[in-house]
């Protein structure tokens, strides 16, 4: 840096370009967003497999047969997790349209709509156990606890990319990990979507998204 206060363009640009040229090393190109999404889903699938081995698929399928709304809500959560993660990875590539952020909307509508309907239909579905206050707190802790490693992995993966809209990317990360945690909760959930339970889920998802937006935005904004 010979000349601190002169920003005459051609020379200083040429000097910078020369310097960047000398620093150039081959880089491994980033995998396409869908493949990176698949990589993250692998972790979710591994956790799901672990939970299924522990709890077995029986109780979940029985519950779904009794209350199909719950099954739809679970499917909605899975779709939300996949599409929000995909959208976050797509937004990590400069030049991709911001409209990607809407990708999780249909899944989220199904998820929220189905769990809301299930709750409104009979207030408390017949033949299923009602969650007590203690158990609802467990749900809250479950969703938040599983969201932390899932969000952390997404943030690490996205820091290798270049999210030019860091807060939007962080919101999508929060949504993806909260939805994935809610899907995982389906496997070992013992009760139907009573109003209190639904509220807890909504609260947990909101907490996860908000924390990501506040912290993740900062973690991603170096890009």
């Amino acid at each position: 840096m010979e000349n601190p206060d002169v920003m005459s363009d051609p020379q200083s640009h040429a000097a910078l370009i020369d310097r960047l040229g000398t620093e150039l090393v081959p880089v491994r190109r980033l995998l396409p967003p869908w493949l990176r999404t698949a990589g993250w889903l692998l972790l979710v699938a591994a956790i799901a497999a672990g939970l299924l081995m522990h709890y077995g698929a029986g109780p979940m399928l029985q519950r779904w047969a009794a209350t199909p709304d719950l099954a739809w809500a679970g499917i909605g959560a899975v779709i939300t997790a996949i599409s929000a993660a995909w959208a976050a990875f797509a937004l990590g590539v400069p030049g991709r349209r911001a409209a990607w952020a809407w990708l999780p909307l249909p899944g989220a509508l199904l998820w929220i709509g189905a769990s809301g309907l299930g709750c409104l239909r009979t207030w408390i579905a017949p033949g299923t156990e009602v969650a007590g206050l203690h158990q609802t707190a467990d749900c809250l802790i479950f969703i938040i606890a599983f969201s932390i490693p899932l969000s952390a992995l997404l943030i690490v993966l996205l820091r290798r990319a270049c999210p030019l809209r860091p807060v939007l990317a962080a919101v999508l990360i929060g949504l993806a990990s909260a939805a994935a945690s809610a899907s995982l909760l389906e496997i070992c959930h013992a009760f139907d979507s009573a109003a209190t339970d639904l509220l807890t889920h909504a609260l947990a998802v909101a907490v996860v998204v908000a924390v990501n937006a506040a912290m993740g935005g900062r973690l991603l904004s170096k890009a």
């Binding site: 840096m1 601190p4 206060d5 920003m7 363009d9 200083s12 640009h13 040429a14 910078l16 370009i17 020369d18 310097r19 960047l20 040229g21 000398t22 620093e23 150039l24 090393v25 081959p26 880089v27 491994r28 190109r29 980033l30 396409p32 990590g92 590539v93 400069p94 030049g95 991709r96 290798r160 990319a161 270049c162 030019l164 170096k222 890009a223």
Partner: protein, 201 residues
């Protein structure tokens, strides 16, 4: 910028008949593999594009070069995110637009504080007291002289972090020093300047 039409061996795909965007795309693909000549041609070729994007975003004339430099640094840092199957111009344009917005925000913040001192060390939390120095031209000259007299490492840190307002990571990339060394150097430099100006107000 000079439109380079000669295409050497590194990118047989970029023949002269192709569009400039395709040509730049082939250069970036070569640069990702480590081809320095393609990379430097690409960056030189990008300067005009970045300026055009920044101007469209409303960046003032005297800030354009800053945006160009910030954008080139970002391009360097995130070059692995470019997918040669897609438009290079769109990729570069998105980065340049973001850096232009950053520049406008910085400008806005500075104006709202009514601080037109180029030695804007106020961006660095613990440096407020030192930056008040340059109130008039003479004092600014003295300050520049003092900076010029610093050891090279410290001078570099002040220039990159203080005068040009690069972030730590950008300054690290520019100077090839790690962020820790830059921080230490900035602190030592500020200490030296503070001592110097404390003695002769």
């Amino acid at each position: 910028m000079s439109p380079v039409r000669t295409v050497p061996a590194e990118s047989a795909a970029a023949s002269a008949s192709e569009s400039p965007d395709r040509r730049r795309s082939a250069w970036m693909a070569a640069a990702q593999a480590g081809d320095r000549r393609a990379y430097e041609k690409l960056l030189a070729d990008s300067v005009a594009l970045i300026r055009a994007v920044a101007r469209r975003q409303g960046v003032a004339q005297d800030q354009l070069d800053d945006v160009v430099q910030e954008t080139l640094l970002t391009v360097h840092r995130v070059r692995q995110t470019y997918d040669p199957g897609r438009s290079y111009d769109a990729w570069l344009g998105a980065i340049a637009a973001r850096r232009a917005i950053d520049s406008l925000r910085r400008r806005g913040r500075r104006d709202s504080r009514e601080l037109h001192d180029e030695f804007a060390l106020d961006n660095h939390a613990d440096a407020d007291d030192a930056s008040a120095a340059a109130e008039n031209e003479q004092r600014a000259r003295r300050l520049h002289a003092a900076i010029a007299a610093l050891p090279p490492g410290q001078r570099e840190a002040v220039e990159q972090l203080g005068l040009r307002e690069h972030s730590l990571s950008e300054a690290a990339e520019l100077t090839g020093r790690n962020t820790g060394a830059l921080k230490v150097n900035l602190h030592r430099a500020l200490k030296a300047l503070r001592e110097r100006f404390h003695g002769e107000p």
